[in-house]
Symmetry: C2
Subunit: 393 residues, 2 copies
DNA sequence: TTCGGTAATGGAAGCGGTTCCACCACGAAA
DNA sequence: TTTCGTGGTGGAACCGCTTCCATTACCGAA
């Protein structure tokens, strides 16, 4: 047996004494093939270990059925849930999905360039990732079927939530519980370019928070708003600052559940009981939120992926996608990190606690957890304050 | 301008008055093209909005540079970290990566069938997913370059950890703290087939636990080992059972960090303080573990993906991959959920607490959290016990 | 002037399928 | 017997590129 190179369809045809057309029909299960022929060809295929080339078939047929999804920070829970939703739909529709994890703007640009300059996939889904005007224009010119999820892209079908409304909902929830001093912990956005894209989710949620406060006739205290890079650790630091204020907030709204974890950690480090001494509201309702009983604004993460994928696949079928802008519902899920503010509060003791907390926090941030020596067993003194998952009844 | 169908390379050639060969050279940046020609062709390409077909190029060139990764349960943090590691490497090497999320054995089989029956990708990475003997044989016959991560596959390069050793490490850590009654909470495995693949990670970690107990000369109490389906909620239920025993454990080792979350939740529900009244050790060291101060066995998740991808790419370069079995290091990271057992313990009060806890748990499991009515704001009475992220100093 | 040698280029021959059209039997209808 | 379908089948043309070989133009060396 000459197995120098992989068997092709004509090898099979030759070996089974039929034409390539017939082999092709057998492979694709066309009905007009005599049973005996089919069986014979199938046997030869098996003997030769022949595997049809997807590539050649796609080229010849003119359709490859593959799409790309570009996401930032694949490891974030909210992103993964979206991605999973999209993958499920695309699989079901028979698409191959190539996942592009754009950790940095540079990688995002390189992915986008790769996708627009060459004809690699039938369509593209962009998730949670603002793209620059020129890039959008490039995609347009290439007329690549494109949908966006969790980003507003002019002229492109996009599935989003109303972040501003979400921020308002969260804040109104806290207001309705009686809170007057409500802090905000969110993302600091370094803009890449002067281009318009403007607001990120966190900024819009902050806007919603401001609207709600304004509507309630409350003065807005700038010092109650703290922004920093994404991540629980940073949120913890910001919260520590917030709680150390002369007049600390009685509640904190934060722009993601992950950041809420940091807020909770900070509260604990400062010795504040949640929700009795501090109410906390997150955003997203990732799986973890239910587990730890976090009050949060639920957005349909997985469903956003599902919708995005559905719309792309409609686009690829040549259907009209309307409306261009699809807004999914939000709702506050009250669990166990929010309640009425405690009636009284002694400023003095509060401050003392806060001071201690800050010192502890500073000790902590100097050494982070993950890069430790590689012995068999390491006692990690960092993260010295012990965290525990705690439920109160 | 006739834009009925997409421009091809010969359209460009015709429109710019050169041969297709020259256009091809321009596209691929070959050096032997006159500068003037290059510029002109480039201009025409731009005018025509021509995008070279990746498909056709790949077919012609005979290499497509794409791989598939098959993973189970994409949303689990450990899986995502592995995936992210692999993606980073594959991107850097210029591969397109199609992600196959196999939630069920059926989907796994369909992915595998799709990948083996047709020639779609250059190679495949399988993560954390046991496959059946016939399937492995099929892959072999098709001689698809394959590597495994977190699964042992005979004859296939695989990157794994020594789960048994990990179980032993965790248990020895608790033993060294003075614990004598150590519980285990892990996965119940319904075997799909009679095929050999045998042990899952959880089972092997359980084996390690048993070894350690045996080595310490401790009697093994079968009732201290509880197995159930994966997930924090189930782990919580199992832990509740464990803590309701007449003689409850003073420490629990559980086969993943996610399950450890459930263990912590159960402890809290039962009113047990961690680590004073119950020590808890997880496995994996996902990001969350550091945040909540969970003592755990660290395995290099992301790195496992990196290694798998590196090995696949070596395989695709035609290099030998040795050793076939690559075992990554483990280490216990002690944080704040493990300490010495408390000296004394009154059986009576313990039991009373336990009984109450079980009742509460049963109430809980009847109604799960996520399928609530869709009003603007929902107060969720399920998950009634409020959970809080808590750090003690 | 003749003759390599070289840089730039044109274009045919694949890559491995799908598809369409021509063709062949063969049985039923005329 | 002739004439049509009609189910099976063979194979050329084509999908859009890459690649290799042939060709041309031009230049310096002999």
């Amino acid at each position: 047996m000459r197995n120098s190179r992989r068997a092709t369809i004509s090898d099979v045809a030759a070996a089974s004494g039929v034409g390539v057309g017939t082999v092709s029909r057998v492979i694709n299960g066309a009905s007009n093939v005599r049973q005996a022929t089919r069986v014979h060809v199938l046997k030869v295929i098996d003997q030769l270990g022949y595997r049809p080339s997807h590539l050649a078939a796609a080229l010849s047929r003119g359709t490859q059925r593959s799409v790309a999804i570009v996401v930032p920070h694949l490891t974030r829970p909210s992103v993964v849930e979206r991605l999973a939703g999209a993958l499920a739909v695309l699989d079901a529709e028979g698409y191959d999905t190539v996942v592009c994890n754009a950790d940095s703007p540079a990688r995002r640009d390189s992915f986008l360039a790769r996708l627009t300059s060459k004809d690699r996939t039938d369509g593209v889904i962009i998730m949670s990732l603002p793209i620059s005007q020129p890039q959008l224009a490039a995609v347009r010119r290439a007329s690549i079927p494109l949908v966006a999820v969790d980003v507003t892209l002019r002229g492109v079908p996009h599935t989003v939530i109303d972040d501003t409304a979400g921020g308002r909902l969260a804040t109104e929830h806290l207001l309705s519980l009686g809170h007057k001093r409500i802090g905000f912990v969110g993302d600091l956005v370094r803009r890449m370019t002067k281009s318009t894209f403007g607001f990120t989710a966190s900024e819009r949620r902050l806007a919603g928070y401001r609207h709600a406060l304004a509507a309630a006739g409350l003065a807005q205290c700038q010092s109650l708003v703290r922004l920093g890079p994404y991540g629980a650790a940073n949120a913890e630091a910001l919260t520590t600052e917030l709680l150390a204020l002369p007049e600390p907030p009685t509640a904190i709204f934060t722009s993601s559940d992950t950041q809420a974890m940091g807020v909770l950690a900070a509260a604990d480090r400062m010795g504040l009981r949640v929700p009795d001494e501090l109410s906390v509201v997150g955003f997203d309702d990732i799986e973890l939120a239910a587990l730890i009983g976090l009050t949060t604004v639920r957005q349909p993460l997985e469903q956003s992926g599902v919708e995005g994928a559905r719309r792309l696949s409609a686009l690829l079928r040549g259907e009209q996608v309307t409306p261009l802008r699809q807004v999914l519902d939000l709702q506050v899920v009250q669990r166990n990190t929010s309640t009425h503010p405690r009636p009284a509060r002694q400023a003095g003791s509060g401050r003392a606690v806060a001071a201690e907390g800050i010192a502890a926090a500073e000790r902590h941030y100097r050494a982070d957890g993950r890069g430790m020596p590689r012995a068999g067993c390491v006692a990690s003194g960092h993260r010295a304050g012990l965290a525990q998952l705690r439920r109160r009844t």
